[in-house]
């Protein structure tokens, strides 16, 4: 089969009859491409708007950070906690369920008030383990060097790089052993979350690092405890 034969064969094959009436819709093509162009432009404009908004929001603080490099990071001013006891009770309950997912907080007991705190209790899946949380306004010092334990035995301080503070305290009370983690959040809320070992677990050694692992497992990630 020589080239000329192929040419003739091809030309005989692609006749108007074989091709039929064209179904290519030029108007449709133009419409579709115009629509796609507008969509692309719309997406680009939306992206620009987002970038501009982020620049407006973040730019000033970024510039301030560049000019004040030597200053230590500071905790934002603590907002006033909800004034009513009931409002704080909600906060403690939220903290409890946040740190210990799955537990059902008991209704806060109004008779259990001390130091302006609201405490929420909950039993856990393990009858030998009880958890509780308390919320209050933090009024102590902050900063990466702040050690809230001082000379208190069985206390470990975990100053955070961002200037907030956290510490863990071991307590023995009424035959039970408890561990209490205190975290100061960026909003100035001091949240204490405690674990109390009861019954047979009283004599179980619970090294701090073991509890820390457990605490982290329970999503203390709202303010993760870093290395000491």
């Amino acid at each position: 089969m020589v080239e000329q034969q192929v040419r003739e064969l091809f030309n005989r094959t692609v006749t108007d009859e074989a091709l039929g009436v064209s179904t290519v819709d030029i108007d449709g093509v133009v419409r579709r491409e115009r629509r796609a162009t507008w969509q692309r432009r719309g997406a680009g404009a939306a992206m620009l708007a987002v970038v501009a908004m982020v620049a407006v929001l973040v730019g000033p603080s970024l510039l301030a950070g560049l000019t004040d490099r030597n200053e230590l990071p500071s905790v934002p001013p603590a907002p006033t906690l909800p004034a009513s006891w009931h409002d704080r009770a909600v906060l403690a309950g939220v903290a409890l369920t946040e740190y210990f997912p799955g537990v059902v907080p008991a209704p806060p007991d109004e008779s259990f008030r001390w130091d302006g705190r609201v405490r929420a209790d909950a039993g856990t899946w393990n009858q030998n383990l009880a958890v509780w949380a308390a919320a209050s306004r933090y009024q102590g010092p902050t900063g990466p060097e702040v050690n809230q334990c001082g000379g208190v035995p069985d206390c470990q301080s975990f100053p955070q790089a961002d200037g907030t503070v956290a510490w863990l305290l071991r307590m023995e009370e009424n035959g039970a052993v408890g561990y209490q983690v205190t975290l100061v959040r960026h909003d100035g809320t001091e949240v204490q979350v405690g674990v109390v070992y009861l019954g047979d677990l009283v004599n179980t050694p619970a090294p701090v690092d073991t509890l820390l692992r457990a605490v982290n497992d329970y999503r203390f990630a709202a303010m993760p405890l870093g290395a000491n």
Binding site: V6, T13, T15, A18, L19, D25, E33
Partner: protein, 175 residues
């Protein structure tokens, strides 16, 4: 795109559409698929018309769009392609119109079946060289390979067509 540019685009398409459909038909082997590929290529052309219209040879660019639209269509996974079904969407006429199945139709179907058996690039090279009468360099530019490869595809494509044709003729005579 300005109104004048769009008018220019429409005029160009109106003039070139029959040739594009013919090439697409031999590539796809089916006129509906051919029209789809032409539509895709024209969409790309519309998008880049401002730049393409300034070229000295916009035809080569448009053919490249067409061939690559066909390559893309072949690369699509099978579940995204359109499929032939056993049942026709519209009922077939009760009686075949006289003269519809003639030797020309048979020859056409035979050629399309032969082309279908060739690799995609080889088929594209044959169509560009022997239907569109393009040179080796131009074909190489459109298909995206070297002129030497075009020569190889041309020679092997012709040999393939010959061999397939001979095999079919032998099968017919044996039957």
């Amino acid at each position: 795109m300005k109104a004048a540019e769009e008018r220019e685009f429409r005029d160009y398409v109106a003039a070139r559409l029959p040739a594009l459909r013919r090439s697409a038909y031999l590539l796809c082997g089916d006129r509906h698929a051919a029209d789809d590929v032409v539509s895709v290529a024209l969409g790309k052309l519309f998008r880049h018309w401002r730049r393409v219209s300034r070229l000295q040879q916009p035809d080569a660019y448009v053919r490249k769009m067409l061939v690559h639209a066909w390559f893309d269509e072949r690369r699509r996974p099978w579940w995204r392609r359109e499929h032939a079904t056993a049942e026709l969407p519209e009922p077939a006429p009760a009686v075949e119109p006289a003269g519809l199945i003639d030797t020309t139709v048979a020859e056409r179907l035979h050629l399309l079946a032969l082309l279908e058996r060739l690799p995609a690039k080889r088929r594209a090279v044959l169509v560009l060289r022997f239907l569109d009468d393009l040179g080796i360099e131009e074909t190489a530019e459109i298909v995206g390979c070297s002129p030497g490869t075009v020569k190889t595809h041309t020679a092997r494509g012709l040999a393939d067509l010959r061999a397939l044709l001979r095999a079919d003729q032998q099968a017919e005579s044996a039957a």
